[in-house]
């Protein structure tokens, strides 16, 4: 019984240490700027040090110790910017608990892979296209203003919730963040979001193809539209640049051809 209790306690991390609300709010606001100095050498490093500074000042009384901690946290770090709040919470907690800097460094080195992969799938390839397609669908159904407002409200409700939740989870988990991440069921959430994207891609494709059907040479244009959709689906991401080039070139050809004849 006691062993089971110990195992659960270890999984859930140490009892939560308290952080003054003003410090927490300051870190969360600063985390919005975590990519302000994004660069190819330290990536989010500078932003992480900037966002963690209020915690470091709260934890360390000696200004020289604060400077040393800032220097440590300004080194190379990469993560999805929204999920960086998870790392900020966990790293802040580790500083509060007085964890050995070498162990903090190992922890920092292990986090970027999982946080980048989860964030890319859940946000960049999931939540953003879902909200974007929802906004476009609302634009088609009602008005562009309604679509834009819906997009911004829905997207940012999720975005800000992830940042806040991430910091809280990171702070409560501390060193055990890695094991806690695995049990969150984020992959299941990502699958739900992807199902929604499928539905909305269908809706927007239907609207675009119907628009093409309204033209003079309707069946030919609809056929071309279906082929374009299929070509994108078959080719995948490598087709994106050629698509952009072909459309730009097509517009250029039309502009040039205008000098000679009219279609």
């Amino acid at each position: 019984m006691s062993e089971r209790h110990d195992a659960r306690a270890s999984e859930q991390g140490p009892p939560a240490a308290t952080l003054p609300a003003s410090v927490k709010v300051s870190v969360l606001f600063r985390s919005l700027l975590v990519q302000a100095a994004w660069n190819y050498r330290t990536m989010l490093g500078t932003g992480m040090a900037f966002a963690l500074t209020p915690v470091l000042r709260h934890v360390h009384d000696d200004p020289a110790e604060v400077e040393r901690a800032v220097a440590r946290h300004a080194s190379l770090f990469n993560a999805h910017p929204y999920l960086a709040s998870l790392a900020l919470g966990a790293l802040g907690r580790m500083e509060m608990d007085g964890v050995d800097p070498a162990q903090v460094e190992r922890f920092r080195a292990a986090l970027p892979g999982p946080l980048g992969a989860i964030g890319d799938r859940l946000v960049w390839a999931g939540w953003l296209p879902l909200c974007s397609l929802l906004g476009i669908t609302i634009s088609a159904a009602f008005s562009i203003a309604a679509g834009v407002v819906t997009f911004l409200l829905v997207y940012n409700a999720g975005h800000l919730a992830v940042r806040f939740w991430g910091f809280e989870l990171g702070w409560s988990a501390g060193l055990s963040l890695g094991s806690r991440l695995g049990g969150l069921g984020l992959a299941r959430e990502a699958r739900r979001v992807e199902a929604g994207i499928c539905l909305l891609i269908g809706v927007v494709s239907g609207v675009l193809l119907t628009d093409l059907a309204g033209g003079g040479a309707s069946s030919l244009l609809v056929l071309c539209g279906v082929l374009a959709l299929l070509a994108g689906h078959v080719s995948g991401p490598r087709a994106w640049r050629p698509t952009a080039w072909i459309v730009t070139l097509g517009v250029g050809v039309l502009a040039g051809a205008g000098h000679f004849f009219s279609l």
């Binding site: 953003l128 997009f151 911004l152 609207v207 517009v251 000679f260």
Partner: protein
């Protein structure tokens, strides 16, 4: 002049929102197209171009250090180019082409900014202190804002000069021009679909959506 200054301000804001700060997605083409359309007196055209570029750039997300076209700046220039020739049939085509081209240039300028940021972030001569970090953050933000504003001013001025020259003898009907740019948007949707439609159930969802879009919303 006031309009150009406001566009420059929007350029700075969307450049910063794209990666450096907040990432609230006010920098997405869907939002920027509508806002700039209102500003230049073409809300419908701005909204249409915003929707098209949003679809094109669904696959170009600000992920890590990847180079991607910058949608916010691209859309400001795209709407300015389209508005410069509206109501010509060329408007949507020239707008989207200008946006795609300028988006790439903006993306490359972001890569330059990231190299410039690296000088302060990783100084081998001394460890960064609190002041250095704050300075690097502020300079990064300021430079990104300035980059967006300058790119928009240059792009809009070029668009206003070149777009009327290109649109003058435009040979295609509005429908054909719209079809051309819609094809690219549909291809982009196909690319996104490939990444998410892994099961038969999702293919069914796509089909249901397609029918709903065509019969309930088509022609809206």
């Amino acid at each position: 002049m006031t309009e150009l200054l406001l566009l420059a301000l929007i350029g700075g804001v969307v450049a910063v929102d794209g990666v450096a700060a907040v990432q609230s997605m006010v920098s997405r083409p869907l939002v920027v197209g509508w806002v700039v359309g209102l500003l230049v007196g073409e809300p419908v055209l701005g909204g249409q171009i915003g929707v098209l570029l949003e679809l094109y750039l669904l696959v170009a997300v600000p992920s890590g250090g990847g180079r991607h076209p910058e949608g916010g700046i691209a859309t400001v220039v795209a709407v300015a180019a389209a508005a410069a020739v509206s109501p010509s049939a060329a408007a949507a085509g020239l707008g989207v082409a200008a946006g795609l081209g300028w988006g790439w240039i903006a993306g490359e300028s972001q890569a330059l900014l990231r190299r410039w940021n690296a000088r302060r972030a990783d100084d081998p001569t001394h460890h960064l202190g609190v002041r250095d970090v704050v300075r690097a953050q502020l300079l990064g933000l300021g430079a990104d804002f300035g980059r967006g504003a300058v790119l928009v001013v240059v792009g809009v001025l070029l668009a206003r000069v070149l777009a009327p020259l290109l649109a003058g003898p435009w040979p295609a009907s509005p429908m054909l021009t719209w079809a051309l740019v819609s094809m690219g948007a549909l291809a982009s949707l196909g690319i996104v679909l490939r990444g998410v439609a892994e099961t038969r159930g999702r293919a069914v969802l796509f089909g249901v959506g397609l029918l709903a879009g065509a019969f309930l919303l088509g022609g809206a």
